[in-house]
């Protein structure tokens, strides 16, 4: 009698219960981190961002270029010895300018996103917690601002008050808090009826404490995701302002301004004035968007794959 391999295991051997292994309990943030690391595109996005931070802020220490005085003997040079990415119409080194412009883009992007998110999170949290008439008034204000084309209003204010990194960040930040405000409000509306909030309230927490100890930390997932998208939008907005001529002034540079300089020489075929800068903008914005998508997937428990 031959032995027949049975697919059914013999009795007495214990198996993991169906539904997968049960690991040690980990914190939500650590789980999110693990999920994030599994997403290769997101890690690539993070890598690109880290690269650009190093390139823009560390690069000038390694690569020295004269970005303060013009050099009319070396204008519009194609890439070559001494100038790896060529020079622009005033003889400034493109690679050096690229680093300096990147500093402005990243600084303004992060600062504007931070300003927008702080205003938005507070507005949304207060509105959601207050409820009633205050909530509807605050949300109608958001609706009103959302219906005004963002670029128009930013341009108008920039014409009057901009031209510094701080000014640009403020202008962009002040007009980008609307979407975060809506998202945080939605989150707060679901959170505020939860038991832990009732418990905190019963224990005597005031509204401010509720907001900063219980509501904002729990809405942090939504906020983090939104920050990355806001950074991408802010970088695009700065580039657009710079391109239209309402960005930073000499000795500061921004990427949009550099592109608009290159436009004048489109016909001459000076490609190095356009493609490196444009590619940098696309890469940074894409990296932020990838990061945001991945963060959304990894922080949203419902979408998490095990």
């Amino acid at each position: 009698m031959t032995h027949i391999a049975s697919p059914v295991p013999p009795l007495g051997v214990t198996h993991a219960p169906e539904g997968g292994e049960i690991g040690p309990v980990q914190s939500g943030w650590r789980l999110a981190l693990r999920e994030f690391a599994r997403n290769r595109l997101a890690v690539a996005g993070l890598g690109v961002l880290v690269f650009f931070v190093l390139f823009c802020f560390g690069g000038p220490f390694v690569y020295h270029a004269n970005l303060l005085s013009t050099n009319l003997a070396a204008t519009n040079l194609p890439p070559g010895a001494g100038h790896p990415l060529g020079t622009d119409n005033l003889g400034f080194d493109e690679l050096g300018e690229l680093m300096k412009g990147g500093q402005a883009a990243l600084e303004i992007g992060f600062l504007a996103a931070a300003i927008g998110i702080v205003i938005g999170a507070l507005w949304g949290a207060i509105s959601g917690l207050a409820g009633g008439i205050a909530d509807s008034i605050m949300m109608r204000v958001v609706d009103v601002f959302l219906s005004i084309p963002f670029l128009f209003i930013v341009l108008i204010v920039a014409v009057r008050y901009a031209a510094s990194a701080l000014g640009l960040s403020l202008i962009i930040g002040v007009f980008t808090w609307l979407v975060p405000a809506r998202l945080v409000r939605g989150e707060v509306l679901t959170l505020r009826v939860r038991d832990f909030v009732s418990a905190a309230r019963a224990a005597g927490s005031g509204r401010l404490r509720l907001i900063h100890r219980h509501l904002i930390p729990n809405a942090l997932g939504v906020i983090t995701v939104n920050v990355t998208f806001n950074i991408a939008d802010a970088i695009l907005a700065v580039a657009t302002l710079g391109f239209l001529g309402f960005g930073l002034h000499y000795p500061k540079v921004d990427w949009g301004d550099m592109l608009s300089n290159g436009t004048a020489y489109l016909q001459d075929g000076y490609w190095w004035l356009i493609y490196p800068v444009g590619t940098c903008i696309v890469l940074v914005v894409m990296a932020c968007n990838l990061l945001g998508d991945a963060l959304r997937d990894s922080l949203d428990v419902r979408l998490r794959r095990w």
């Binding site: 109608r140 609706d143 128009f152 108008i156 657009t240 489109l266 075929g269």
Partner: protein
Amino acid sequence: MTGYLPRRVGTSLVMLFGVSIFIFFLLHTIYPSPAIDVLGPKANRVSIAVWNKQHGFDDPFIVQYLRYVNQLLHGNLGYSYKLNQSVAALFQERWGRSAYLSGISLLFAVLIAIPLGIFQAVRRNTIGDNVATTLAFVTYAMPDFFLYLIAIQLLALTFPIFGFEASQSTCMLTVMLDWRDMTLPIVCLTLLIVAGYSRYMRSAAMDTLAQDYIKVARAKGLPERLVLLRHLVRNACLPMITLIGLSIPALLAGSLIAETVFNYPGLGLLFYNSLGTADYPVLLAYTLVGAVLTIAGNLVADIALTVADPRIRLA
């Protein structure tokens, strides 16, 4: 439905009121009086004060606001002292060209985005889907003007197939027939809009594909072509209605940059030129028009959705 419509229109009116207050507040803050533009840069303080008094620019905020709204309701959008022309007349000359560029690009974008999204959802995670997603993602991250510059460099200068400047004609018919100069702006703007729409369309189509009625249609033996055409397309298009309404500010901004880069004399270029001369009446009037279009667009989209989708029963 009967209660919904007045309530929805009421919300829009409240928003219009809010927008008008905000725009007037901005105008009042950064351009309190056109006196210096009228009297010239050498005008002394007394004559400016007298002029302000005569023309009511020293009245209280609320009085000036009511006068402004009254003017708006009579179709007066303000007066550009820099161009010495009423804003309404300036807009009248140009709005047709802007409407043509934005409208036709939006139309093409919708006509491309819907089949593309359905194709991506049906063939999801195939090479075609991945290529389309990647292209849309890159285009979405691209500043508008970079795309225009690449297009001009490639298709107008290196290979001179199209013109590098949009049509300059004042006759709408000439502009419409001038495919050589109008192709680049229209195609580029279309691409940018498609990049914004496609991922929503893809996920909408994917949601619809998972519905039971699609399974039923397949189970009863309907050919796949009919399943897609009769059951998928019409349902997957519904979110598109809302999306078009929501994307009006982006569309206006997109046409602003397109008109600037391609030197197309529409409202966007007028706005850009007014930025250079700090012509605030024009700037704020166009912003107001943009906000009104956005509010109207959202209202129309919401109403159209309730008409198109009988499942939406609103009390």
